[in-house]
């Protein structure tokens, strides 16, 4: 899986986002209306110039961070979560929005090598950080060993939680909490799977940790 961004140069400020999409348009109009949308997709957005002019009420900040080895500089609405930054603005839609409240783990990514919930991470706080998402750990030709293990073990049904499971599993293996199936279950408990694929997820993590 390669990143969907074609331009490797850091975009200049205020031109960070592509042409306004329907989503960013809705985001902007909602922000201006001052409507509180709990758990919505649109808590904040990167602003192109027309949007910035329209949403003067929402303070913004500059932030420079690296995502999957590529540097980016953005001007973000301070409310923007890392998850929204990834999905809505970098079009890295592998990280999923399940609960948007830190309760399901579908949004799990690595920040400076540690697994975190990107939905509870404000992008504005990540100046200088290195973010790794599911798109950054393997390629279509050479999957990450844990991605391959999920296929080998058939460790998913609907697949919605899978990117979060895999990123959390990468963290879990790195932390060394894979001594037994029980230990894996405990240390992977921040990732909920509604299809109930837990036994196979545990096997995939175990298999990958064993090869390391």
């Amino acid at each position: 899986m390669s990143t969907e961004l074609s331009d490797s140069a850091p975009p200049p400020p205020n031109e960070a986002s592509p042409a306004p999409t329907r989503r960013t348009f809705i985001a902007t109009t909602t922000a201006v209306g001052g409507v509180a949308i709990a758990g919505g997709v649109i808590g904040g957005s990167i602003l192109s110039e027309p949007e910035a002019a329209a949403a003067t009420a929402a303070p913004t900040s500059r932030v420079a961070l690296s995502v999957n080895g590529r540097r980016h500089t953005f001007t973000v609405d301070n409310r923007t979560s890392l998850l929204d930054l990834l999905r809505e603005h970098l079009e890295l839609t592998g990280s999923k929005k399940g609960c948007n409240a830190g309760a399901c783990g579908a949004c799990t990514v690595l920040v400076d090598g540690r697994r975190v919930n990107s939905c509870l991470t404000l992008a504005v706080r990540l100046d200088g950080a290195k973010v790794t998402t599911i798109e950054g750990i393997g390629t279509e030709d050479k999957l990450h060993p844990l991605q391959q293990a999920f296929i080998d073990e058939d460790a998913f049904q609907c697949g919605y939680c899978t990117p979060g499971q895999i990123m959390s599993g990468v963290g879990c293996i790195e932390e060394g909490h894979t001594g037994s199936p029980d230990e894996i279950r405990e240390w992977m408990s921040g990732n909920i799977c509604r299809c109930g694929c837990y036994p196979k997820i545990v096997r995939a993590v175990e298999q990958t940790a064993g090869r390391k």
Binding site: A31, A36, A38, G39, G43, G44, A57, A58, P59, S61, D77, N78, R79, S81, N100, A101, G102, G105, T108, R114, R115, V116, N117, L120, T121, L122, V124, R125, D127, S168, G171, C172, E175, H177, R185, E186, W187, M188, S189, G190, N191
Partner: protein, 326 residues
């Protein structure tokens, strides 16, 4: 989420200055960002303290252990000194939240986290904590998870932290820095019972910042541990929990420290249980007799009467577990 301005503090003085001007501190952000999204929290300014040098693990002259306020839950739990000297702290931390949240959340933030009462989190519900004077929807609502100790007519919400229960049992001290300088308060005095002002949750003064939590030197040998009972095996808040620390020598319990979580509006020290243990010889009968006083003074609600007996059993089991190690 309401709009807010964002500043990053480069040193503690700068942070406190911004706090004094009304800024809201953000460390791990796991509670605050969640509640901001629900519009329960509506800060105008966030003061990011994550780059302050508050990540120490220092053994004090008196033999205690100072843990910096910005140490994450994962770092604190895994630290060799914490594991060896205060296993109850490591266990309470590792039974909290998820690995991801523990990588984000900090020790200072953990004890300042706000209740998980569903009515507090629902801005359409009456809640004296969120909206003083509006009433308490939990009293007549679904209150299975709520407190049975330390409650008032105004509020029955539990304090959700696990490690705070261990801090209560150990008589931790909390180091603060504010506009008027440094001070230290006993952890047991930091969090306030609701009374008629459930919106006042802590004894921090305006602009004060937690800089460290200090675990005191305690008589050794000290065996300790944490037991958490909940609706699922992992990644859930406590229905009941027990932090136990015992100093046993010459076959006699010299000092017993017992606190409970999931049952109180603040972490709840079980003095009656401690008194029943001090000076006694460990035995199954003692654990059972001492634990009988666990829920002394409890005022259960419609749906949480089960906590009275569950607390007693939780305490008894954890006394036996730690007692067998001692």
């Amino acid at each position: 989420m309401h709009p807010f301005t964002y500043t990053q503090a480069n040193d503690a003085r700068e942070a406190v200055g911004a706090g004094r001007r009304g800024g809201r501190y953000i460390a791990g952000g796991t509670t605050l960002v969640d509640l901001m999204r629900e519009t329960v929290e509506r800060p105008d300014t966030l003061v990011d303290i994550s780059r302050l040098p508050l990540r120490e693990f220092n053994v004090t002259k008196r033999g205690g252990l100072r843990i910096g306020a910005l140490v994450t839950m994962s770092e604190a739990a895994a630290h060799s000194k914490v594991r060896s000297l205060f296993p109850v702290v490591s266990e309470a931390l590792e039974l909290s939240a998820s690995a991801q949240l523990r990588n984000m959340a900090t020790i200072g933030g953990n004890i300042m986290q706000r209740t998980r009462c569903t009515y507090f989190r629902d801005v359409t519900a009456d809640c004296n904590k969120r909206e003083p004077g509006s009433g308490c929807a939990a009293r007549g609502g679904v209150n299975r998870a709520h407190a049975i100790l330390g409650t008032s007519e105004s509020c029955v919400a539990t304090h959700p932290s696990d490690v705070a229960v261990a801090f209560a049992a150990l008589d931790a001290q909390v180091h603060l820095l504010g506009p008027d300088g440094e001070r230290t308060v006993p952890f047991l005095d930091l969090l306030l019972r609701p009374g008629n002002t459930p919106n006042r949750e802590h004894a921090l003064r305006h602009g004060e910042l937690i800089t460290a939590v200090e675990l005191p030197a305690l008589p050794r040998p000290l065996k300790s541990g944490y037991l958490k009972v909940r609706d699922r095996q992992s990644y859930e808040f406590a229905l009941t929990s027990a932090a136990v620390a015992l100093n046993v020598s010459g076959g006699v319990i010299r000092e017993a420290r017992v606190a409970a979580g999931g049952v109180g509006t603040v972490p709840w020290r079980l003095r009656a249980v401690e008194r029943a243990l001090a000076g006694e010889r460990p035995s199954d009968r003692l654990w059972s007799e001492a634990a009988a006083g666990s829920a002394e003074g409890a005022r259960p609600l419609k749906h949480n009467r089960f906590k009275v007996d569950l607390l007693r059993r939780t305490v008894e089991r954890q006394l036996r577990t730690v007692g067998d190690m001692a």
